[in-house]
Symmetry: C2
Subunit: 396 residues, 2 copies
């Protein structure tokens, strides 16, 4: 399946191993039914099949991008004939322009849009509380990530699933976190730069660069797309205090959904405003604290009380939003949800900033130095990197 010829059969760079064969076809009014040798039945609409023709007239062989556009065939296009070849491909002869399409069984079965197949592709996060993460926190040696694709894939999957993972034994020099980030992708820039320092400065434009307690929050909540992964590399931590706290925002959301369904609904439907302002910038975004997708799965948490703007929803929603929001903050403060630890020099914590809230206790400037270096990489880059590594089937 990984030979170049086989791959050109499909408009993808991902291999689709043939695990099952089609055994029977039924031509319906607007769809083709495919019965597979493992008793699964797929229904593919003719328009979908025509849309997914992988022949060189429909797909650029150089870029594997589609050159055909679906609005150039009739909405009522039908198969005039369909059959299974000896090598288990499905061939369709169309009733429009004499076009013929051929489908690879591995690709086709993987793209079946029945509920059963779609659910089998569905990724689910591993949701945690204090007890679970204390036992299971993923922790990998720097050199393993840098030197081995297999170790990298294991670590990236753990990071995706838990939303948090540690790297140990990182050089404690400025910039050395890039040896890890270079294994994933480019960094996401912000008005704080690409690589940023977390240390106390005389003229701080953000609470991060003071020695004050930082309550649980996500970074850059006033940007439309909050940064995905956040990297915090500990260079020095000699000061007393300054412990790190992490909370799985998905856990808080699911806890609210179960025990406080009204507050969950309000916090996931009534928007808050977030303002991030200093003398040189003025970012504003309006979004919900909890975001869900079209399947009602929680996909994001957005929370930073210190850069929240005034609530600006219609008056009849104001008190409901406050009620839900007060509950949310109080839940994040509960120790049973909190991972509490002290970063030591050479450790780097990486977490999904759109899921895992982070906080820092105040620290005593007189007792010693505390310095971290950080950066962001978006979720898109993490997921693309995992897919690229997974194309190499030996790593799976």
């Amino acid at each position: 399946m990984s030979s170049p010829d086989a791959n050109l059969e499909i408009a993808s760079f991902t291999p689709y191993p043939i695990t099952h064969h089609p055994v029977r076809l039924e031509l319906n009014d607007e769809s083709l039914t495919v019965i597979w040798d493992h008793q699964h039945t797929s229904e593919f609409h003719y328009l979908w099949l025509r849309d997914n023709c992988h022949c060189p007239k429909c797909i650029s062989t150089a870029t594997r991008e589609q050159t055909f556009e679906i609005c150039d065939v009739p909405f009522t296009i039908k198969a005039s004939n369909a059959y299974i070849t000896d090598d288990h491909r499905i061939v369709i002869e169309w009733d429009h322009e004499g076009h013929v399409s051929k489908y690879h069984p591995g690709w086709l079965l993987s793209h079946c849009y029945s509920k059963e197949v779609q659910q089998s592709h569905q990724w689910k996060p591993t949701i945690w509380d204090e007890e679970r993460i204390t036992n299971e926190l993923p922790r990998t040696h720097h050199d393993a990530i840098v030197e081995s694709d297999a170790e990298l894939l294991i670590w990236l999957r753990a990071l995706r699933n838990y939303g948090i993972a540690l790297v140990t034994d990182v050089d404690t020099t400025l910039g050395s976190l890039t040896k890890v980030t270079d294994r994933i992708s480019f960094m996401r820039e912000s008005n704080y730069g690409t690589l940023f320092d977390v240390k106390t400065t005389a003229k701080a434009n953000t609470s991060a660069n003071t020695n004050l307690r930082l309550p649980l929050h996500t970074d850059l909540s006033a940007r439309e797309l909050q940064p995905g992964l956040q990297f915090l590399h500990c260079l020095v931590n000699d000061a007393s205090g300054g412990e790190s706290i992490f909370v799985d925002g998905f856990k808080i959301a699911e806890y609210m959904r179960e025990h406080h369904p009204e507050e969950f609904r309000d916090l996931s439907t009534i928007p808050m405003s977030f303002y991030n302002k200093d003398p040189y910038c003025d970012y504003r975004y309006r979004g919900t604290v909890i975001a869900t997708d079209s399947n009602d799965e929680v996909i994001e948490v957005r929370h930073a009380n210190f850069i929240r703007g005034p609530i600006d929803v219609p008056p009849h929603q104001t008190m409901a939003l406050y009620k839900a929001y007060q509950l949310f903050i109080l839940l994040t403060r509960e120790p049973k949800f909190q991972l509490f630890f002290r970063l030591t020099a050479g450790e780097m914590v990486v977490f999904d900033n759109r899921r895992v809230l982070h906080a820092r206790n105040a620290f005593d400037l007189k007792s010693g130095m505390r310095q971290l270096q950080g950066c962001y990489i978006d979720r898109d880059e993490l997921l693309s990197r995992i897919r690229i590594l997974e194309r190499n089937t030996e790593l799976n």
Copy 2:
């Protein structure tokens, strides 16, 4: 209002001129009613007012970020007393911990969350078709943007409102577009780099770098956040063909909403999948072609047929989605919606990539060179820059 002392009265760097005075207060069960000298009435919930206390105990005077958290007062907090001072501030004495808050009338009126005041803040795009944009396309000289904040603000507002604007007389050297982008903010990086070249290459991993016709599309539709502004700076255009086409995606969406409400609904609620893949990356995103906000306003269009993935919605939605999608593409092809022109060397077109679809006709490689340089800057940066310029009230 722009003196430092006055600004410290509010947790903002934006000036809020006092245009009206409060004349009467009414203390209700869970809110305060403020009657202003222009007959407007505001209702502020006590919880909202307590949340927006700007005193130095509640706000960091260094960062102007809130240190107080609303969950630390009772949900039922009330004013025990409230009055208007001689200098038109509102003072509230709270029934909790003896706290006292003072409100600046300019800030308070601007943040009134009545429908009337909220609607007065609402920005509306200037939606265009071929006829309108041909007459009104914003066009500004490079030096005016680089040298004058007033001209820059006019140009940025036009760019925001129309979603497209031209810059003329830009140096035709590689990298000179940064003189304009530096006036806004940093660029958004992607797997194609930060600055990218649009020219024909032998081993193209994207149709952009061929001489082929590129149908109307938004860039990077397979990323969760499509890039906001796209800059295309024309360095050479001697080849025949290669004309640029732009379509206001908001116009297409609004046309569908008016004339084809079912297709509008389907295209704004049933998600498509977008796949952007080459040997080194594999980006995927699932989202609607038309995105609307909580007020049902169109805020984004996502469309690139050549990197669309197989449709993967439940079977009962498949045909409805195809029907709406076929219509959408056919509408984008109608000349009455298209701005059609030929970029000449030294021109730079800038457009909101999440709104304005762009296309390029095929060009003849033998007839001459065609080379553009491009980059992206996100919407967040554009809007922040406009707000910063607007803080300087002399520019308004």
